[in-house]
Symmetry: C2
Subunit: 243 residues, 2 copies
DNA sequence: CGAACGCTTCGGCCGCGGACGAAACGTCGG
DNA sequence: CCGACGTTTCGTCCGCGGCCGAAGCGTTCG
């Protein structure tokens, strides 16, 4: 017989299916999307985001935790859930890219979406027009090199960031990229991710340049931030207005 | 009431769920994995890979095509399916990374896996020990810069590739990265993807350095290839042996 | 031109898994 | 110590969707 061995559990394919099936449920996808904001959320909050009851949500959270997608931390009578690793966030990102590229789902961009398009978090870094502009500016000034999908921090870039008081954590043995690009689903262009992106977001939050929105991944640019982004990076609010 | 608007279809989250749900079925995941080999396959071949009947497979293929995951081309009485875009391949890659990182699924690496670990295709480029070694060598010689997740082709690199008779297609308006890294699920390190990776694979096939395996993504290194990889890149078969 | 082949469509079966309400568990506040 | 709250567990229901066999179309070959 010419037929070779059966195509049984094809090693890794099964693992993919398991993970994808978890992400593939609407309620769970909503939960994961909410956690893409980068903060840990309580089961109750996630239940709200998921759009299903607390009981159902609890089941979903248990499954995703067991599969290694989520990490849990108890704090008093709350349980905080967050994405277990940056890998999860990246997988979500690529799925977003595919979903966005797919058949044009007639999607009238509401005002809510508009806020997301202006500036939002993408797991642990900045996205939207602010995120992409930031990447552009750092590139123009030679602080990072964005060549067509690749990303590198230059020595000048390190100096510049150092002058801002930003040392990028070295996290020795960590396999986390220093600087990578991430496809922005709303702008369809790249913004900065990796440890550099994380540092920029953390800094912007700490110094009060931007503020998180409680119910969405959108962030609002404060007055202080508006000033600082202009002086440091040459990004004004007009640059970020919807075109 | 303090509750804001309902958490209804959270814009993009739903699209993610749709895509992920498609990938999340074992049969479909097998189909997509098979197509990660980079070649177009007939419905019949895919049915074999999927491990389900022809009728069922046909339904799966229709769904994935409609969702924009697959592209179809009829040729005689066959219908050839392939991944619709590199984005799809990248999404599969990130899911593999998550799946591989997950809870250590007791997985005794069979001899079949061993061939995959040595050299295989990853959509349109090379992976496995051959793929990662190739990336290492090009990096060591300064032809590409692999800095911690970022990837760039240097001018020296372009010259070197040119001297091999390899012009990397420019594909003007294309948004496809010239050179990106791709996490190798077996080696847990990076190999080269993007247009550069695609060019290297295409070249290796055309010149007969490697040959595809009909039933899997594994490729075998020919005698000619063994010689060329040694002289051009300094990669010998010993480098590629299981450790 | 009829038979074999490749693939898709149709109809029906069946099991998995998501949804909820009720109740149990654990924590914080008075 | 008791009641309110956040979360999980349990039991149940039910609908979606994968699977197959049979039949229908289009193509290729003898």
């Amino acid at each position: 017989m010419g037929m070779t061995n059966p195509p049984f559990p094809l090693a890794s394919a099964n693992g993919i299916a398991t993970i994808a099936a978890l992400i593939g449920d609407p309620a769970r996808a909503n939960i994961l999307s909410a956690l893409m904001g980068g903060q840990a959320l309580t089961a109750g909050e996630l239940s709200w985001h998921a759009g299903v009851g607390a009981a159902t949500t609890s089941g979903h959270l248990a499954k995703m935790s067991e599969a290694g997608l989520l990490a849990m931390e108890r704090q008093g009578r709350h349980r905080y859930y967050r994405l277990a690793s940056p890998d999860i966030a990246q997988a979500m990102e690529s799925l977003m890219a595919v979903a966005a590229a797919g058949p044009r789902r007639h999607r009238p961009p509401g005002p809510k979406d508009e806020a997301l398009r202006t500036a939002r978090t993408c797991y642990d870094h900045l996205a939207g027009r602010l995120g992409t502009k930031l990447a552009d500016r750092l590139n123009e000034r030679g602080f990072v090199i964005l060549d067509d999908g690749g990303a590198l921090v230059t020595d000048d870039g390190r100096d510049f960031l150092g002058s801002l008081g930003l040392a990028i954590p070295d996290t020795g043995g960590d396999r986390r990229p220093l600087c990578r690009v991430c496809l922005d689903w709303s702008e369809r262009r790249h913004h900065l991710a990796g440890r550099l992106g994380a540092t920029l977001l953390a800094c912007s939050l700490e110094r009060g340049w931007i503020a998180r929105n409680p119910d969405s991944r959108a962030v609002t640019i404060t007055e202080a931030g508006s000033k600082e982004f202009a002086t440091i990076f040459g990004i004004t609010l007009e640059h970020l207005a919807a075109k």
